[in-house]
C-alpha cells in the first residue's frame, strides 16, 4: 500500500510537472517566442533547417517553427481546457438530474448517454465540424458537446449511491431544495472522479484535434495548432523533418503529461476504480 501511494505520487509529480511547464509556456508565449507565429513570415526563408536565427527551423511560409510551437501551447491547452469544461458541465448537470430526479428524466438522459457512447466521438465531431466549418471556436463546440457521457454516467452512479446516505436524507428533512442538495451536498463528492476524467479527457481532446486536422477539419490555418502543424507537415516528413518532429514531440509530451497526471490523480483520489479505466481514449 505504501509503495502504491508513492508510485501514485510519482505519476502525479511527473505528469503535473509537465502540465505546469506547458501552462507556463503558454502564458509566457509572447515573451518566450523570438518571432510572431503568424505575421513574421517571409517566403525567402522558406523551409530553413534548424540552426542559426531559427532554432527549430522554418516552415514552408517561412515562419519560425519554435515560435509556432511555443504559441501552439496556448491552442492545445485551450482545446483541452475549454472542451473539458464544456464536457464536465454537461455531463455533471445531466448526471445529477438523471440520478436525483429519476424516472422519466433518468430514462431520457440515460437513453441519450447510451446514444452518445455508441457514436464514435471522432465521427460525431467530424460531422459537427463539417456543419460548422473548420476553426478553433467550432472545434471547442464539436469536442465540447460530444464527450460527456462518461462524466454523466459516473455522476449519476454516485448520486444514486449518495441518495441513500444519511447526509442527503438529513438535508432533505431540513427542507433544502432539490437543487441545493444536488449542487451543495452531492456535487463535492463527485469532484474526484470527474477531475480524473477531465484530465484524461484533455489528453484525448488534444489528440482529437490532431486527428481532425489530419482529416482537414481542425483549427484553421494560420492558427499555430500543433495538430495542424503536424498534419500539414506530413508530406514533408522526409524533406523537412523538423516540421513534424517539434510539434510531434510537443503533442506527445503534453498528452503524456495529462495522461500521467490523470492516472496519478485517480490513484490518489479514487483508488477503488483503478480497474475501470475509461475506454475509447485512443486516436
Amino acid at each position: 500500500m505504501m509503495l502504491k501511494s508513492i508510485f501514485a505520487h510519482k505519476n502525479l509529480m511527473f505528469g503535473g510537472t509537465i502540465v505546469v511547464l506547458v501552462v507556463l509556456m503558454a502564458i509566457a508565449a509572447p515573451l518566450l517566442a523570438p518571432f510572431d507565429p503568424v505575421f513574421d513570415a517571409d517566403l525567402m526563408n522558406s523551409e530553413m533547417p534548424p540552426g542559426g536565427e531559427f532554432l527549430f527551423g522554418t516552415d514552408t511560409n517561412g515562419r519560425d517553427v519554435l515560435s509556432r510551437v511555443i504559441h501552439g501551447a496556448r491552442i492545445s491547452l485551450s482545446v483541452g481546457l475549454v472542451t473539458q469544461i464544456l464536457n464536465t458541465i454537461i455531463g455533471v448537470s445531466l448526471g445529477l438530474v438523471a440520478g436525483y430526479m429519476g424516472r422519466f428524466w433518468d430514462d431520457l438522459i440515460m437513453g441519450l448517454t447510451n446514444i452518445m457512447l455508441s457514436i464514435p466521438v471522432i465521427v460525431f465531431a467530424l460531422a459537427i465540424m463539417a456543419a460548422l466549418g473548420p476553426g478553433l471556436i467550432n472545434l471547442f463546440i464539436a469536442l465540447g458537446l460530444t464527450n460527456w457521457a462518461y462524466t454523466c454516467r459516473i455522476t449519476r452512479a454516485q448520486v444514486l449511491s449518495d441518495k441513500k446516505k444519511d447526509y442527503v436524507k438529513a438535508a432533505k428533512s431540513l427542507g433544502y431544495s432539490r437543487a441545493s442538495i444536488m449542487f451543495t451536498q452531492i456535487m463535492p463528492n463527485i469532484l474526484g472522479p470527474v477531475l480524473v476524467i477531465a484530465t484524461l479527457g484533455s489528453a484525448e481532446a488534444i489528440l482529437l484535434e490532431a486527428a481532425l486536422s489530419f482529416l482537414g477539419l481542425g483549427a484553421q490555418p494560420p492558427t499555430p495548432s500543433w495538430g495542424g502543424m503536424l498534419s500539414s507537415a506530413r508530406d514533408l516528413l522526409f524533406v523537412a523533418p523538423w516540421l513534424s518532429i517539434f510539434p510531434g514531440i510537443a503533442i506527445f509530451v503534453t498528452v503524456l503529461g495529462f495522461n500521467m497526471l490523470g492516472d496519478g490523480l485517480r490513484d490518489l483520489l479514487d483508488p477503488k476504480s483503478v480497474g475501470a479505466t475509461k475506454l475509447g481514449g485512443v486516436r
Binding site: 473548420p134 508530406d235 524533406v239
Partner: protein, 531 residues
C-alpha cells in the same frame, strides 16, 4: 521561364515518343494510382463526373473522340468523319469496322445513339449531360417532349449523323470520358449495377473492384488497334494521401504516381527519378476571383495594385516549389492561342502603393479571401497572398470552406475574394467566353466581368475563318482581360507524374494528366512486374 516551360514540354514529349520509337514489350502488370478524393464511386462513365472515376473508365470505355497528347486537341477515336453539312451543323460519321465490346459484340451506330440518349434520360440526369445538350432536340428529349433526340440518326450499321444546335466543333464535347459509348444489352442486363461491373470497348476489360482499395483491369484481346494494349494487367490503387503515395512509389510498389508540390523538389533533385518526370501545363488557371460589388475591388487601380503587390513568381517557386507556371493571361501555355510574348504584372510594391493612393485607398482596407484546404490553390496560398498585401495596407483574413460550399458562394456572388482553379481549356474561344458579358454570372463569369472591347474581340474571333487572325483576336482579348485584373492570375497548374525508369508511353495529357491512355503504355524487362 517560358523557355524552360517549352523545354519541359519538349522533354515530356520525348518521353512520350520513346514508347513508339522503341519496339514495345508486351506483357507485364502496371500499378497506377487513383490519387484524388478517396473511393471510386462508380465505373459507369455516365453516372459520375469525378476525375477519380473517369481516369479508370477512360481505359475501359472509349468515347467518339479522344484527347491526343501529341496533337494537343481531341481527335476522332471510334469513327471517321465522312462529311459535314454546308451549314456546319450536321456531322456524318462512319464507325471503324470490327470494333468489339468486351462482351464480344461488334459496336454499331445505334450504340452511339443509345449512349447519348441514355445520358439524357437517366434519373437523376447524368452529370455529364451538359456535353450532349449541344445536339439538336436533346433538351426536348430530356424533358420528355420527344421519343428520340431529333439530331441523332442511325444511317446504317456503321454510319450515323449528329446535328448540332450551333456551329461548334463537336470534338470538344464528345471527347469527354464521361460521354463514353456503352453497349445497350449489357447496361440493361446489369441495371443499376452496371457501374459495378462495366462493359466497354476500351483496351482493358474490367476484372475486379475491391471497393475503397483498387480496381483491377486486364488486357482486352480483341481491342481494335493491332497489338495493343501491351500490358496484361492494369491496376488503379486508391491512394489519396500524398505521403502514402510517395513512400509506396519509392518502395517500387507503384509504376507511376501523381506528384504533390511538396514532394516535387525531391524528385527533381533525385537523379534516379529526375529524368522520368512527365510534366505538363494542365488547362487549369489558378486565380483569385474578385467581387466587383465590394467597393474597393470595383476600382481597376486597386485590382492592379494587388496584382503588382503580390510576387507570384516567388510564391510559385517557393511555396509551390516550382510546380506551377507563371501566368501571362487567362489561357494556359498549352492552349493554341497562348500568347508566348505576354507578360504578367510582375512584382512592384512602389507602383502598387502609388496605385492604391491614386484610388484613394492609401490606408488600405480589409479583405476576406475564401478557399478550400487544397494545398496548391487553397487558403494556404491566400495566407501567403495576405503576407504580401499587408505591405500595401490591405488586411487579409482567410476562411477555409469545402469545395461545394465555396461553389455555392461563388455562384451567389457572396464573397470578396475566392481562390480557386478554373478550367481554361480546351478550345481557346470557349475558354475566353467565360468572361464575355453575355455569359451568365452564375455559370462561369462569376466576377461579372464586362468590357465591350473584350466582347468585340471575341465576337470577331468567332466570325472569322482566318485561323491566324482568330488567334490574334483571342490573344488581344486575353491581354485586355489580364490588364483589367478582374481576377488575380496566380498560375497554370504544372501537373507532374513521376514514372519508374522501366515505364514507357506515359504522356503529358494537358486536359488532366491522370487521363492516361494505357493502350500505348508498356513496361520493359526491368520492371519487377514484367512478364
Amino acid at each position: 521561364m517560358n523557355l524552360n516551360m517549352l523545354k519541359c514540354l519538349a522533354f515530356a514529349a520525348i518521353v512520350g515518343f520513346a514508347g513508339t520509337a522503341q519496339a514495345a514489350d508486351s506483357g507485364g502488370e502496371f500499378n497506377f494510382v487513383a490519387p484524388y478524393d478517396g473511393s471510386i464511386l462508380s465505373l459507369d462513365p455516365h453516372k459520375t463526373s469525378k476525375q477519380q472515376d473517369l481516369l479508370v473508365t477512360n481505359n475501359i470505355f472509349r468515347s467518339l473522340y479522344m484527347w491526343s497528347a501529341e496533337h494537343r486537341k481531341p481527335m476522332l477515336e471510334l469513327a471517321n468523319l465522312e462529311s459535314v453539312s454546308d451549314d456546319g451543323l450536321t456531322y456524318t460519321y462512319k464507325l471503324h469496322a470490327d470494333m468489339m465490346f468486351h462482351n464480344g459484340r461488334a459496336m454499331k451506330a445505334s450504340d452511339i445513339v443509345y449512349s447519348y440518349e441514355r445520358m439524357l434520360s437517366m434519373k437523376p440526369v447524368s452529370p455529364n449531360a451538359g456535353h450532349i445538350q449541344i445536339i439538336q432536340g436533346a433538351k426536348a428529349f430530356e424533358s420528355g417532349g420527344a421519343d428520340h433526340v431529333e439530331g441523332l440518326s442511325v444511317l446504317d450499321d456503321l454510319r450515323f449523323s449528329i446535328t448540332l444546335n450551333d456551329r461548334v466543333d463537336p470534338a470538344y464535347y464528345f471527347y469527354r470520358p464521361g460521354t463514353a459509348i456503352v453497349p445497350q444489352e449489357a447496361v440493361e442486363a446489369a441495371g443499376d449495377e452496371f457501374g459495378l461491373s462495366p462493359v466497354g470497348s476500351g483496351p482493358f476489360k474490367f476484372e475486379e473492384w475491391v471497393k475503397g482499395s483498387e480496381v483491377k483491369l486486364s488486357k482486352f484481346d480483341n481491342y481494335f488497334e493491332a497489338q495493343k494494349p501491351y500490358l496484361d494487367k492494369l491496376n488503379f490503387k486508391i491512394l489519396q494521401e500524398g505521403s502514402t503515395r510517395d513512400i509506396a512509389f519509392r518502395a517500387n510498389e507503384l509504376d507511376a504516381i501523381l506528384v504533390e508540390a511538396s514532394q516535387y523538389p525531391q524528385y527533381k533533385a533525385d537523379p534516379s527519378y529526375s529524368e522520368h518526370l512527365v510534366e505538363v501545363a494542365e488547362m487549369f488557371t489558378r486565380l483569385i476571383s474578385w467581387n466587383a460589388d465590394y467597393a474597393p475591388l470595383s476600382d481597376k487601380k486597386v485590382r492592379q495594385a494587388i496584382s503588382y503587390a503580390i510576387d507570384e513568381d516567388t510564391i510559385n517557386k517557393k511555396f509551390l516549389k516550382g510546380k506551377a507556371y507563371n501566368p501571362v493571361g487567362w489561357l494556359p501555355s498549352t492552349s493554341e492561342a497562348f500568347d508566348a510574348n505576354g507578360k504578367g504584372f510582375g512584382y512592384d510594391v512602389e507602383k502598387a502603393k502609388a496605385l492604391m493612393a491614386e484610388a484613394g485607398y492609401a490606408d488600405g482596407f480589409e479583405l476576406e479571401i475564401l478557399g478550400t484546404a487544397n494545398k496548391s490553390y487553397g487558403v494556404g496560398v491566400a495566407e501567403v497572398v495576405g503576407q504580401y498585401l499587408s505591405k500595401i495596407g490591405i488586411t487579409v483574413t482567410t476562411q477555409q470552406l469545402e469545395g461545394g460550399i465555396l461553389y455555392d458562394k461563388l455562384v451567389a456572388g457572396d464573397f470578396q475574394g475566392i481562390i480557386w482553379s478554373f478550367g481554361s481549356g480546351v478550345e481557346p474561344l470557349k475558354a475566353l467566353k467565360r468572361w464575355h458579358s453575355t455569359t451568365a454570372n452564375d455559370s462561369g463569369n462569376y466576377v461579372k466581368y464586362n468590357n465591350p472591347e473584350y466582347d468585340a474581340l471575341l465576337d470577331k474571333a468567332q466570325n472569322t475563318n482566318d485561323e491566324q487572325k482568330r488567334v490574334e483576336y483571342l490573344q488581344a482579348a486575353d491581354r485586355i482581360f489580364a490588364d483589367d485584373a478582374a481576377v488575380w492570375l496566380f498560375n497554370y497548374n504544372k501537373a507532374v507524374l513521376a514514372v519508374q525508369p522501366w515505364v514507357h508511353g506515359i504522356e503529358p495529357v494537358a486536359i488532366e494528366i491522370m487521363y492516361q491512355d494505357f493502350a500505348d503504355v508498356w513496361v520493359d524487362a526491368n520492371s519487377p512486374r514484367a512478364k
